[in-house]
């Protein structure tokens, strides 16, 4: 047995993984199998390149509790590689499955490539300073974060669906009080323009400078970890970085951001990066396309005005 297996508890992420899966399927000459919970999605997955959809029928509400069931299925199918959506739930599920199957796991791969029978992944290490290239063992699991790939395009691809009735695991846990996080503005992860504030702001009144600039640009405001966690000027869902939000807007303007590696790891996929900071040796300038060394109290109002 062989094949590429794809799973995410979020259907749009599965569609993105299909893009990576199709390239891989071509170079490895393998079939693409999708594991999902809703029969409704299977037609769309097939159009987007799935050869086979395994539809698990259950109504257990906690996605993580399916890890054992998915592990059991994968054990029987003996896949070449398993791609799992790198949402936070997905990474937990992937880790549990990997342990159950005693196989390898690459979390947060940003690239995956197949050639002959060899599959290689790339992921970042040391908070983003380095890239680790790994050659996967047979049956390794790889998680890929949402929005790393665009959703696969519809085609006239044909495939089939298999329904599997499953018994969820005994409930050793209880889940309650599920609250969607209400983003104060729009979600920064999908914003087209971002203004980012860092500790270079002298006090909370300086947020006004960022707000005026953001308003002019129709941008969202985000921040570094310490602005959210130490100063609490913005909520924690607004901080960009390795352990925070990963963003890739068309324009990213930072003000008073020094550019620590963990922060840069969250924003370096932005198309154009602009930095304003007083310290000319700040690492943010190495990560920026355009930089102005200067006092943000002077530069930012000028910029807001000039953008007229």
């Amino acid at each position: 047995m062989a094949g590429i297996y794809i799973y995410s508890e979020e259907q749009p992420v599965t569609e993105q993984l299909l893009t990576a899966g199709k390239t891989l399927a071509n170079s490895l000459n393998e079939k693409i199998n999708v594991i999902d919970f809703s029969e409704q999605d299977s037609e769309s997955f097939i159009k987007k390149g799935a050869d086979h959809v395994l539809c698990l029928k259950s109504d257990h509400p906690w996605p993580e509790s399916y890890a054992q069931i998915i592990a059991d299925i994968l054990k029987e199918k003996d896949p070449t590689v398993v791609l799992i959506g790198g949402t936070l739930r997905g990474k937990t599920t992937a880790s549990i499955i990997a342990a159950k199957l005693q196989t390898g796991l690459v979390n947060n791969a940003f690239a995956i490539e197949g050639s002959g029978s060899v599959i290689e992944t790339k992921r970042i290490m040391y908070s983003g300073i380095a890239v680790c290239t790994e050659e996967l063992c047979h049956g390794s699991i790889v998680t890929i974060e949402p929005r790393t790939f665009d959703a696969a395009q519809d085609s006239d691809h044909q495939g089939d669906t298999e329904n599997i009735d499953i018994q969820p695991e005994a409930k050793t846990i209880t889940v309650g009080n599920v609250c969607p996080i209400v983003h104060q503005d729009n979600d920064i992860a999908t914003a087209e323009k971002l203004v980012c504030v860092g500790r270079g702001l002298s006090d909370q009144n300086d947020m006004k400078l960022a707000e005026e600039l953001a308003e002019k640009l129709h941008a969202q405001i985000c921040c570094t970890r310490s602005v959210a966690e130490d100063y609490h000027w913005l909520t924690t869902d607004k901080y960009v970085g390795l352990s925070g939000a990963k963003v890739k807007p068309n324009l990213y303007i930072s003000m008073g951001v020094s550019g620590q590696v963990q922060h840069v790891a969250g924003m370096r996929d932005s198309k154009v990066i602009v930095a304003v900071d007083t310290n000319e040796n700040a690492p943010i300038f190495a990560a920026a396309d355009y930089g102005i060394v200067g006092d943000l109290h002077e530069i930012i109002p000028l910029l807001t005005k000039e953008l007229g």
Partner: protein
Amino acid sequence: MKIIVCYKWVPDEQDIKIAADLKVDMSMAKWKISEYDKNAIEEAALQAENNAAEVTCLTFGTSKAKQSLKDALSRGPEKAYWVNDAKAENTDGFVTANILAAAIKKVGIPDLIFFGEGSEDSYGQQVGPRVAALLDIPALTFVTKTAVKDDAITTTRSIGNCTEDVTASFPAVVCMLPEINKPRIPSLKQVLKASKKPVEEIKLADLGLSDAELTVKNKVKSIQGFVMNRKNKLYQDGSSAEKVKALVSDLAKEGLA
């Protein structure tokens, strides 16, 4: 209530240099307890202070990790377990989880096992839930709040687009997000007290793991510096207003202003 908190001894990435040939140079790096793990140790210390939990810590590291023990113990735990083996130099989430799970079984599965959300160096984000799976107990990950009542822990998880409260009966693995607490800076008294706390060294051979369980799965082909491809244009001439004008003109060319 017994808690084991796991941590990793890692190079401080602020001191890691990337050479011209993109090789990663760690020769200047100071080593430290991974920042994310400090949150896990702090959460265990708070459980010791507020709920009389009996806290021990566990690390898998090379002989160099000996330096970490005093720092870890000064942060609250009463005893440290150290699986000392050169294999820690070349490990992965698979091997590390097998070793930690075996060590935990050896010293006795506690009520709670705490982890950070990932290690600061490789950030594989898998050892905590892997250990849970190996011990066949629940994994509560990305936790921003914990509350212990009777023989169960209720956690608030922050998982991207939602938060949820998950309760698990003991034993359970809990992996903390950094925002859960602010790790203490150990006082002189705590540091001095740490020197007197017991350390138990565990030999890998005593864990009864097979060669297959101790062999890394995926093969690392290279670790190279990340290449930043940016224009790096600094506006240095003229007044601030002129610099801003030049910037806006460049942004306009990119279709962004």
